[in-house]
């Protein structure tokens, strides 16, 4: 639970937060400009943050723009969410060595356990994290690698004040403010941050910072920013639960129309913060005495994904796009009690063909608002 009255951290004191996290033993990550996009990377100084950067996003479009804005978090999101930090894009799961007589020894890959703090987490990404937690940490087969990283994660959320044109977190109910799942939550104002703890670990860090109580004016200012961020979102899904509508329309002609535009490249699944598919690949050592079993992100848009001994269940883009969308917005409800979409809009921006999930879902589910 968040503390009732937020504190105020002057802009010049944000460095203290980074220092406090590093002093507490965390590897600190934060948003930085890399190759024209905002990515999370090792952060030791506020000077690394994307000062005054705005992101302009549209279907198939992502550009950073410079401005005189004194803010560090005046952008919506980059292609990454928290996903790569917990569910690694590629990682060995186990190794086997084989002796000359054929005897094999299997060994589990050591799980990484470096305490990591991430500054600048968005509400949509916290919602996605909760879904990935539900997927990877459910008994009886919890994923040890994911669990170890998750247990060592400290999250500093920053409420989103500059949603992109592609964002629709209001429609999914996941933003623009972080409401749960963070250790510390920030609201960025021109001269500093409203700051609140959401966990005991967060409170300990806050205790070491030069905070003053936030004024009524500052709290009202943050609220009006949130109101503006909500009003700024023009995209929406036609309902929270589209399961029935999607599965009632499995033969809708729109599946073929979208397939004619879709390149089946899998960019959407790579940037999606909730997509969890992976393939397991074997990487044998050249000497022949050992082999590593490596897990890699994979995508339901590939031919291999549904391959079975000479037969492919989804040979065309129509059935693959349908698989993705009916899962993301439909069967996810049965699996994890809610939609698999958190409204981050990444699949819209990073689709080379500019396919917009909200537009496709609306076309397929028909007019009107669903549940």
């Amino acid at each position: 639970m968040a503390d009732a009255v937020p504190g105020f951290l002057p802009r010049a004191a944000l460095q203290h937060l980074i220092d406090a996290l590093i002093a507490a033993g965390y590897r600190c990550l934060g948003p930085q400009e890399r190759d024209g996009a905002i990515l999370y990377d090792r952060l030791t100084s506020v000077t690394q943050l994307p000062l005054g950067r705005h992101d302009r996003q549209a279907p198939g479009h992502y550009r950073l723009e410079a401005s005189a804005d004194p803010r560090w978090f005046a952008w919506a999101n980059g292609p990454q969410a928290l996903k790569p930090l917990l569910f690694a894009p590629t990682e060995p799961l186990w190794k086997v060595t084989r002796e000359a007589d054929g005897v094999m020894h299997f060994s589990e890959q050591a799980v990484p356990a470096e305490p990591t703090a991430v500054i600048g987490v968005r509400a949509c990404d916290l919602a996605a994290l909760a879904l990935q937690d539900a997927h990877f940490m459910a008994p009886p087969h919890a994923d040890a690698h994911y669990m170890a990283r998750r247990a060592n994660l400290f999250l500093v959320a920053v409420n989103c004040t500059h949603p992109a044109d592609t964002c629709f977190c209001v429609s999914t109910g996941d933003g623009p403010n972080a409401t749960t799942g963070y250790d510390i939550d920030l609201s960025e104002l021109e001269d500093g941050f409203l700051i609140q703890a959401g966990s005991d670990e967060g409170r300990q860090i806050l205790a070491s910072l030069p905070l003053v109580p936030a004024s009524t004016r500052q709290i009202a200012l943050a609220q009006s920013q949130t109101d503006k961020a909500i009003a700024a979102q023009s995209r929406s899904l036609p309902g929270h639960n589209l399961r029935a509508a999607l599965f009632a329309n499995l033969e809708h002609p729109r599946w073929q129309e979208v397939a004619d535009r879709c390149l089946s490249c899998g960019n959407c699944t790579s940037v999606c913060p909730t997509c969890f598919c992976s393939s397991h690949n074997e990487v044998p050592d050249l000497s022949g005495t050992s082999s590593e079993h490596v897990r890699e992100w994979s995508s339901c848009f590939t031919l291999d994904h549904s391959y079975m001994h000479g037969y492919v269940v989804r040979p065309d883009t129509r059935t693959r796009y349908r698989q993705w969308l009916t899962h993301k917005l439909g069967s996810w409800h049965e699996q994890y009690g809610r939609s698999g979409c958190v409204g981050c809009g990444r699949c819209v921006s990073w689709c080379p063909a500019g396919i917009d999930i909200t537009e496709e879902a609306t076309a397929i589910c028909g007019g009107g608002q669903h549940d």
């Binding site: 690698h145 074997e282 129509r318």
Partner: protein, 277 residues
């Protein structure tokens, strides 16, 4: 915390060539503690690991009364199964499992059991046949229906011939294309349903094979009055992790490796008519 992905070493005790492309490996876990702890039910599967190449899901075809010796009947068809086919007794591979839900053999006690298979001999249901035959007094009639494309595709000819001699057991075979030594029906497998002595109120149907064959079989059986919730299917999809993480085996909301591979028909009925899931 132990990783659910790490296999255990197993020794090949025996290798039986069932047909040109089908073979059975009898395996034993080398770690005595794991070996003693291993339990499974017919219909469950193991992930078999071929050193340096990878893993595939293979159902356990031996009887659960001897869980220390695990039979796996495999068709050499892909990269890993062809590699596995070259292994010999004394060589080793990796195993993890068992995974998935079994056939409803307890629920079927006291009922007739109708086994319908298509394609090249279906190992998952052979486990059912053997299970019922070893516990004959617990079950009613055993009806075995097998369809193949070509007469020469039938494996285990001797076994079908033997099963047909057993009391209270009926064997019906059909081949789309007959041959000089095919004394059984030429035509679709559903044709022979007419000859099956099915008591629709009192049977469990267990099916395995191509989905088209199972669709036709379900239609036929439900028309005869077999309740949908007494029809069980063994499904197949790509599988990488077997613990519900990798996403490859999803079928609608279910993961074949966890909620399957054996399903009561009503559980998958809404999707079963649509190709591409």
């Amino acid at each position: 915390m132990t990783s659910p992905y790490v296999p255990a070493e197993a020794l090949i005790l025996d290798r039986i060539q069932e047909s040109k492309s089908i073979f059975t490996l009898r395996l034993q876990l080398t770690d005595p503690v794991r070996r003693e702890a291993f339990r499974f039910e017919p219909g469950q599967f193991n992930m078999l690991y071929l050193y340096g190449v990878g893993e595939i899901p293979i159902s356990i075809s031996s009887d659960p009364h001897d869980p220390e010796t695990l039979g796996h009947t495999i068709r050499a068809v892909g990269r890993i199964s062809q590699g596995l086919s070259t292994l010999e007794p004394g060589q080793r591979l990796g195993i993890r499992g068992p995974y998935g839900r079994p056939w409803p053999l307890q629920a079927a006690e006291g009922h007739d059991v109708l086994v319908v298979t298509g394609g090249l001999g279906c190992a998952p249901v052979v486990a059912v046949i053997n299970y019922v035959l070893l516990r004959r007094e617990h079950y009613g009639r055993l009806i075995i229906i097998q369809g193949v494309k070509h007469s020469e595709d039938l494996i285990w000819r001797d076994r079908y011939a033997y099963w047909s001699t057993l009391p209270n057991t009926q064997v019906l075979l059909a081949s789309d294309h007959g041959g000089p030594i095919w004394p059984w029906h030429v035509g679709r497998v559903t044709d022979v349903f007419d000859d099956a002595r099915i008591n629709p109120d009192h049977c469990f149907a267990m099916m395995c094979g191509p989905e088209g064959m199972m669709r036709a079989g379900i239609k036929n059986l439900t028309q005869r009055g077999v309740p949908e919730d007494h029809i069980y299917l063994s499904m197949e999809r790509n599988m990488q992790c077997a613990v519900g993480h990798c996403g490859h085996c999803q079928y609608g909301a279910s993961f074949l490796c966890r909620q399957g591979p054996i399903y009561a028909y009503p559980a998958i009925k809404p999707l079963f008519r649509t190709r591409g899931f």
